[in-house]
Symmetry: C5
Subunit: 99 residues, 5 copies
């Protein structure tokens, strides 16, 4: 899954009819410190994620396995809202910890 942050919403009136009622969120990829990365993805929201929240995105055919996206022409879905990341092995301890 991709780790990202919701930064806004896409408005689209003219679309495939199976997409009616879906919310398309704009998500920017983040690193484990929630620093912004370059990559932007538009994803359907299946969990009520709001702007500013850190989320997980499932892409490809897996993006169609929530109740809201099943059999729809969408390739990315927000399937979880992140409460917290526990990074127990930061880059600074990488070598010391390598067995």
């Amino acid at each position: 899954m991709l780790l990202g942050r919701v930064i806004g919403t896409v408005w689209a009136t003219r679309k495939d009819e199976k997409l009616e009622g879906m919310k398309f969120q704009i998500v920017r990829a983040v690193d484990t410190d929630y620093k912004p990365l370059d990559n932007i993805v538009v994803a359907v929201d299946s969990v009520g994620a709001g702007v500013g929240e850190i989320v997980l995105i499932a892409q490809g055919s897996s993006g169609r396995l929530t109740w809201i996206t099943r059999d729809k022409p969408v390739d990315a879905v927000i399937m979880a809202i992140v409460d917290r990341l526990d990074v127990e092995l930061p880059l600074s301890e990488w070598e010391a910890d390598l067995k």
Copy 2:
């Protein structure tokens, strides 16, 4: 989904017979300010998108889930035309807003 802008059309007479009648649009990826990015994708149009319009593209197997692309050998479809983007969290406010 990928955010992009239609910049032209592909003409191809010799093609898989299941592709007859499809319109192949050339789409350049854009950022949330509609600035052009490097990435170019050729996608089947399922919503009547014209040159200059901002669109969403679904890729992979999801690209085959519109009525026009079902079971066809295509891996990208324009499934929505974008009216407007609401970017509520620009990079300039990223840190301030981080909980």
Copy 3:
């Protein structure tokens, strides 16, 4: 779909038995001016594309939806030969044309 140009052929005697008789073409990605890009893909030819021709490639599971690639362990297929590209919105006119 990926826009590319056929630059050669792969010869492989030892291969999965379901691949017997397929032609594996080497395709280099191109931009809309047919300038060469870095990316190289090996794709099965389903339309009789020869060296030097500009083609479209469908990747992933979509690459298995031509008569020749169905249920085969291949992830890229040439499904169209490009006659011409009409780029109506070149980068030089991008801003002027933005609504």
Copy 4:
């Protein structure tokens, strides 16, 4: 498959109900010397991989083919814990060994 190293865990209370009970691990891609690369993936653990371990990740629809991820909206799974890599052809011997 992607070669990576588990560096931490994602906590997410609000998520698709089919994801209940899954462990989401943060994995950083590594090279064959276990040096850290830039790419980070969040993957479901199906084999009991702990922080610090070197693992293999299957992505896309293949990520749903373990008992724990079947039909779930996830696109990456840890399906093996690496004991050892045997790199018999390092870059220093690449040319000499080329037939």
Copy 5:
């Protein structure tokens, strides 16, 4: 398909039970002169490819369509061993040959 060269083997005792008996090869991507590229993929061997050999890799769901990988949680398979590449259109002749 990806063009690569087998450089070694992954040893993994703890893994999904459906992976028992598979050989996981480490493959480095190559260009058409067999020069090494940065990208490394771990792929299941379905054709008896040895270290040093040039191979083709099918990725994604297509990686599950050999007899050995069917329905397994793997996303890359070596499905052919390359005997020879015929590059008839090198970059030096690109322009001259463009119709």
